[in-house]
Symmetry: C2
């Protein structure tokens, strides 16, 4: 008899509803409204209408617990969902730990990460509203490729402003987006006024997520047929990702265990929220408490070293101002390989839970993360994305604590994506060329002085 290792749900068990944690927030744990970047007044739905379809704007402010997943979205989910829950038996053995380690694997989606969970939903709602074109930014390219694939499926044109440094470093991600039919330009680009202004001053600018957001927003504002799309941070993005956690609840039941510790990496917060919110919701509704850990890079430690305050979502001050943990919108994280975690802020909902100690956060260096990633690959076969190695590192640390204490904890972590497009980072690690960026206390302090 083979021991069960992979827990697959039947297609019929794909959640029919997204879970909205806003419905379960206890008294005293209240959301702060996002503010208009110019007026600093609370944003209203009409303020956001040029950027997003109304269905998403209503999800952004909804306090309904369950929001139905539209049929055409669920149809496409069925091509790669439910994602597997896997017991990492060989990793457990390699660590000689009494802990049981489970991971939810989101890397089997078309774009290789959890990002399609929201990209498909966003493309659908835009299509419903008659939108022909979506502009977005991307750093490492996980988000851009997910939106490019979703756009292809719904017949929506996609324009991606890709941070120039990544555009040059990761040509495969760029070609993947183009293969799906998207137009991709290196940002700053000559396609927008903000891009041209920056290039006039800094012809060799490597770009940044903040600049790319500015270009995508400017592109959107100038055209009637175009909306803007964001792959993390916003409430509706967290919402769409909860299919991960909802499935994991059913799958842990199949495995006959309940997690003691729930772990995910956090950049903007969406893969963390996706796994954790449904579990935290159970606690908030009177269930048992789990240890829930968001893991971030020491090079961009918003939850662990940032300040909980109102700050801009982008460098150029064009995006909404949100109450969140932030390192300051001027803060430019060091070029670690986990490009998806290089964000100065954090999802307001994730920030709120952290502020009220409903979740924990840890920050780690990238070298120990790659070390964990290689150990994982050699035992479990899957090559993790650099972002995901942060969750693996924390899971291994908890498992090693269990080894020392003799506790047989059940650990559940989110393996948010594969690392097939990140092999130059693995090569740097394997050849000893990787650097750890020390906690940049001075830079964060300076950036925070200009925040809010």
């Amino acid at each position: 008899m083979v021991e069960r290792t992979r827990f697959m749900l039947d297609e019929e068990k794909i959640p029919r509803f997204w879970y909205n944690i806003a419905a379960d927030l206890p008294a005293g744990v209240e959301q702060s409204p996002p503010l208009h970047p110019m007026t600093h007044q609370p944003l209203t739905p009409p303020d956001l209408a040029p950027l997003f379809p109304m269905a998403l704007i209503m999800q952004e402010v909804s306090t309904e617990r369950e929001i139905e997943i539209p049929g055409p979205v669920r149809d496409i989910y069925t091509t790669f969902r439910p994602s597997p829950l896997v017991r990492a038996r060989r990793l457990e053995k390699a660590l000689d730990t009494p802990a049981h380690i489970y991971f939810k694997y989101e890397g089997l989606s078309p774009a290789g990460s959890h990002k399609p969970n929201t990209a498909i939903a966003q493309a659908f709602y835009n299509k419903e509203e008659g939108i022909k074109r979506i502009a977005t930014e991307t750093g490492a390219g996980q988000w851009g490729s997910a939106l490019a694939a979703a756009g292809a499926m719904f017949g929506i044109e996609v324009k991606v402003y890709m941070v120039r440094a990544s555009y040059n470093q990761k040509p495969y991600r760029r070609i993947l987006m183009e293969t799906y039919g998207a137009s991709v330009v290196a940002s700053p680009s000559m396609d927008t006024e903000s891009g041209r202004a920056i290039l006039a001053q800094h012809p060799d600018s490597p770009g940044s997520l903040g600049i790319a957001i500015s270009e995508a927003v400017e592109d959107t504002m100038k055209r009637d047929d175009t909306h803007y799309s964001l792959g993390s941070v916003l409430n509706h993005v967290m919402l769409h990702q909860t299919v991960i956690g909802e499935e994991s609840i059913l799958q842990m039941e199949m495995a006959g265990e309940e997690p003691d510790v729930i772990i995910a990496c956090a950049g903007g917060g969406s893969n963390f929220a996706g796994l954790a919110f449904p579990w935290v919701g159970r606690t908030l509704r009177g269930g048992r408490k789990y240890q829930v850990i968001a893991v971030e890079p020491l090079a961009a430690p918003s939850l662990t070293r940032g300040k909980y305050m109102y700050d801009y979502g982008d460098t150029a001050k064009m995006a909404p101002v949100a109450k969140m943990y932030t390192l300051g919108h001027d803060f430019v994280p060091e070029p670690i390989h986990a490009g998806g975690l290089r964000y100065h802020g954090m999802s307001p909902l994730v920030s709120l839970l952290k502020h009220h100690n409903l979740i924990e956060a840890r920050s780690v260096h990238q070298i120990p993360c790659f070390q964990a990633g290689v150990l994982f690959a050699r035992n479990e076969g899957i090559l993790p994305a650099p972002e995901s190695t942060h969750a693996i590192r924390a899971a291994i640390d908890v498992a090693l604590d269990c080894k020392a204490s003799g506790e047989a904890k059940v650990i559940l972590f989110n393996l948010s994506g594969h690392g097939h497009f990140d092999l130059s980072a693995y090569e740097a690690y394997l050849s000893g060329k990787l650097e750890d960026y020390e906690y940049p206390a001075k830079e964060i302090k300076e950036a925070l002085a200009h925040a809010g």
Copy 2:
């Protein structure tokens, strides 16, 4: 009610036996024994013992219908098997065809293709025989990365001789193998006598699969702790791949349909055999006949333009001599991007079935294959490997024939792997830089003159 799109088997339904088509060959369809490359006498098991573990040698000559899959192999299969069967509903719609198109998707394995099905089995049997180290060759790297991952799981050192042209063109594949812990050298290398001899004459040699095989075999023969491993062509490799077809039979039952047409690409023949042999076996045991099509590149058209005869498996005449369709062991296929299909010969079992008209073969140019691959990616989300696009092209052609004739055929094809490491090929296609290599009649004729 969502229409079913993905058919997932429970882990318990992973086959317990590999299917050996040798048991069902009808009278008059007989295997010809492989010959020793020096003596041209039929090979005996002891001849092969320096290269392979005895368990694999016995599988090579077995006529048992069912060979039990060892528990530890099945344990690892459970981390990525059963693979999904997917109905390509959006592709059907894009083609406006009455045909039903299903694909079996092998790209979710650790190495991203069907290759781990045999790599894990081969690593297991070598480990059982106390082997510490395996030497192999790889072209594009699908096979090398599968064996590297399997070696890591069983604690076996893996040395990969990678064709130099690929080594330089596909650094990500090389780094993937190294991340799994394998040693990779560009072939021809300074590590073997045959490599050094070639480099002395041709310091800039781009290498070939034939040269890399020679190096791996030489490496093996020189060391007591080392065996050799091959990722296609041999009977035991075809055997291990039949888990694909066995699963697909159960999954088509779930879908409530039976295929009329079964399609896979063919280089050495293993992904074709993996899908097709279990279905052909049903026919041979008295069931209905299916149209079974092997699709090969026009740049290496062994089944469609080669000769059925005894020929060497490698250029250097160190590998066994086998009765097969061959373009001649001197034939060097043009550098098409489907590196896994650039082989002068073909699996003897696949060749035998073709020779007796139990299967068909088609050959296609690479540009229409990439065209099919891009259409597939934009509709189904999955980026196919260049090899797999050959199967997609044939499936689309059959579906378009159905559109013309009004027939609602059921098509099943094998999507053997993803193309995450082949994006430079897609870029060449998208930018119009791809070339089609015309059927090189003269070269094949010349090569065949030296064959056998």
